[in-house]
């Protein structure tokens, strides 16, 4: 299999109704009520001016915007329902068309379990390069989120060093969450333009997308807003992610937290459409329930799984693509908890066809990268990929000829029909099906095999090199930001 293959879920056979039409309508109305009466905080001069120019009620001192339902609804109608995420290699562009679930790596972590020492340490630029290279060779990973913070690079241009590192080591699409100020946003747009081959080319093939967090409850970060506006202007797909969590940054109840998060996301999305009508945007969310005793936000747990399915219903209601948090876990190492939380969150987000899933590789509430976790998360995705194909029922799959040939008793191992279809059966890489004694002797498990697989890729895989000229252009841009 060439490393150019990308595995996405499409043409699903499974379905799930997590919210009825009436329930979605109620959440939508509650959301509009919140935006009109409570308001949303937009601490950016530029954002407030756009709102004011479009007739919203703006409190410049408190930086709170209140907008009539009509203004929001009309703005949202301008969102393009479908578009492609571009890749350095155009063969690896990803259609966000409602019929593809694309998996990414998780992003913005701060530590890593070192692949050699197996000890936890602070993340550096070389880790960003290495992870990008492993992801480049991994079919389940359709796109990158900048996985870790390159903490050995200067703070002023860190987000740019990270982008360069991923682009140099992979031909797949890159999404970043680490660009949240004007300087870096401008530079990132310039870098993406050079990679795509010009400003117009960038619009057609956006090799970069930007994800910004909202600031729940009912607020935004100024730097994030300004960065998003710059990206939207250049035609770079931009999304706002709400992390509003039950009990702390959202009401204790799930419906209320959905409404709060929805208000944050659609208000910011409407802002982008008011500023740049037709700009490609996406909905993003990673909602959960805070632990009622510790207050911690780690992701995982039943509320998380339900949010995973419910959010896509909302994004579909507004007819925009969704980037959904999945695979979040509070586990400290790849273990039972990580498998449980990764599987259920990813299943629930996939069964409703979320366009993007974020993402593989993290432990301890999106903080610690583990290559073993990454590879095992990919296997979970493959299992769900297979499940989503459902059960095909037709003459061939009912196998009446083979059934007659075998008759009562006997076995199907000598049937041509079996040979024809045996490769459709899922073949796990990391599920342990060995004899007990073998396990006892070797004492290894999925984690060791997963790690070995990552090691092998790191040793062997050479990504298509990035044009040297582009590389030096990147360096020039980054230098100029560092000087500012």
């Amino acid at each position: 299999m060439s490393h150019k293959t990308i595995k996405t879920i499409s043409d699903p056979k499974l379905k799930l109704e997590v919210l009825t039409k009436e329930e979605v309508q109620k959440i939508h109305e509650a959301t509009l009520h919140i935006i009109e009466n409570v308001g949303v905080r937009f601490p950016s001069k530029r954002a407030l001016e756009v709102w004011q120019a479009n007739g919203a009620q703006v409190d410049f001192e408190k930086k709170i915007v209140r907008a009539k339902p009509q203004l929001i609804e009309d703005a949202l109608k301008k969102c393009p329902p479908k578009y492609d995420l571009g890749a350095r290699d155009p063969q690896q562009n990803l259609p966000l068309d409602g019929n593809h679930v694309c998996l990414g790596t998780d992003g913005c972590g701060v530590e890593i379990i070192d692949i050699d020492t197996r000890k936890k340490r602070t993340s550096v630029l070389q880790d960003v390069r290495d992870i990008a290279r492993v992801a480049d060779a991994t079919p389940e990973v359709a796109f990158h989120w900048v996985p870790l913070s390159a903490q050995d690079t200067p703070v002023e241009a860190r987000g740019l060093h990270e982008l360069q590192a991923v682009w140099e080591n992979s031909t797949k699409h890159v999404q970043t969450e680490s660009i949240y100020n004007v300087h870096e946003a401008k530079a990132a747009v310039e870098m993406a333009g050079i990679l795509a081959g010009g400003k117009e080319e960038l619009r057609k093939r956006p090799v970069l997308s930007l994800m910004q967090c909202t600031a729940p409850p009912l607020g935004h970060d100024g730097g994030s807003l300004d960065a998003a506006l710059i990206a939207a202007e250049a035609g770079i797909p931009t999304g706002f992610m709400t992390m509003s969590a039950c009990l702390t940054t959202g009401p204790a109840t799930m419906a209320g937290t959905l409404a709060v998060g929805n208000a944050e996301v659609i208000a910011a999305t409407a802002l982008l459409q008011l500023a740049y009508p037709g700009a490609p945007v996406f909905y993003a969310a990673a909602q959960t329930a805070s632990d009622p005793r510790l207050g911690v936000y780690t992701g995982g747990g039943p509320e998380d799984f339900l949010f995973g399915a419910a959010t896509n219903v909302l994004a579909d209601f507004y007819n925009i693509p969704l980037s959904m948090g999945s695979f979040a876990t509070g586990a400290k190492e790849p273990n039972w908890q990580a498998g449980l939380e990764g599987s259920l969150s990813t299943f629930m987000a996939s069964v409703v066809m979320s366009d993007m899933l974020l993402g593989v590789g993290f432990l301890h509430g999106s903080r610690i990268w583990s290559y073993a976790e990454m590879m095992m998360d990919c296997e979970i995705f493959s299992i769900i990929h297979k499940m989503m194909q459902g059960i095909v029922v037709n003459e061939e799959t009912l196998a009446l000829d083979a059934i007659a040939a075998v008759g009562p008793g006997g076995h199907y191992l000598a049937q041509k029909h079996s040979r024809n279809h045996m490769r459709e059966i899922f073949l796990p890489k990391f599920l342990d099906r060995r004899p007990y004694t073998q396990w006892e002797e070797k004492g290894d498990d999925a984690r060791d095999w997963a790690l070995e697989k990552a090691r092998k890729i790191l040793k062997e895989h050479q990504p298509d090199p990035l044009d040297e000229k582009i590389g030096s252009e990147f360096e020039r841009i980054i230098k100029s930001v560092e000087k500012q």
Binding site: V110, E111, T122, S149, Q151, V155, R158, A215, D221, G223, L247, T248, T249, A252, S290, P292, R293, L294, G295, Y297, G365, R367
Partner: protein, 218 residues
């Protein structure tokens, strides 16, 4: 008579009922009960109860936060009386708490503040995105013994160091102690920037704060 009132006071804190705790504080003033008694024999009993329950995993965060608010309301009502008598409520010490400049992560810092308050510290929470001069200025203004700084981004954790360096330049340490925390913060980082302490969670933050003010055994 006053025993019954003390019981009601404790209960108003346990129930997180700020209206009732204010009302009971007012009533105690009318009944000429010494304000310090109202606090230590009444309201504090409730705070301690919730604190213990929380420690045992029985009480949930909203109960802790609401108990804290009810306590604050009661103390605010009694404060003028205390001043009149020239008495001061003994606290564990004053703490200035903030999330550093450029960073808007709030919850962790707020939880640390809640737990510190519940443990008898007087906490001034400046909120998020706070520059060094504001943090240091506030600490000087209220004569704080501890500055607590939260940072959740790798790009903002450097601000913790800047505050510490500024404090050293002004010769404010070791009089004012500094403790740090947040998602990317490690013990190594705390040592590197010469902070006086670090904690990974709110319960640890209380333990640390007590050590820093020399009251580890309280």
């Amino acid at each position: 008579m006053s025993d019954e009132l003390f019981k009601q006071m404790a209960q108003s804190i346990i129930d997180g009922d700020s209206d009732l705790s204010t009302e009971l504080a007012q009533k105690s003033i009318e009944m000429n009960i010494p304000p310090l008694d109202a606090i230590t024999k009444g309201f504090v009993i409730g705070v301690n109860y919730i604190g213990d329950q929380f420690g045992a995993g029985e009480a949930f965060l909203p109960e802790l936060v609401m108990a804290g608010e009810a306590m604050k309301a009661a103390v605010a009502t009694l404060e003028p009386e205390l001043l009149k008598l020239g008495e001061a409520r003994e606290t564990m010490g004053r703490v200035v708490l903030a999330t550093v400049e450029g960073d808007i992560h709030e919850i962790g810092k707020t939880l640390v503040g809640t737990m510190l308050s519940a443990s008898g510290f007087e906490v001034t929470d400046l909120g998020v995105d706070q520059p060094a001069d504001k943090i240091i200025g506030k600490a000087l203004e209220i004569n704080a013994s501890i500055i607590g700084m939260s940072a959740l981004l790798t790009t903002t954790m450097v601000r913790q160091r800047e505050v510490i360096e500024e404090m050293d330049k002004e010769g404010l340490r070791p009089k004012i102690k500094v403790m740090v925390g947040g998602a990317p913060i490690t013990r190594e980082w705390a040592t590197k920037i010469k902070a006086d302490g670090y904690s990974e969670d709110a319960v640890g933050a209380v333990k640390l704060a007590k050590e820093l003010v020399g009251k580890a055994d309280v």
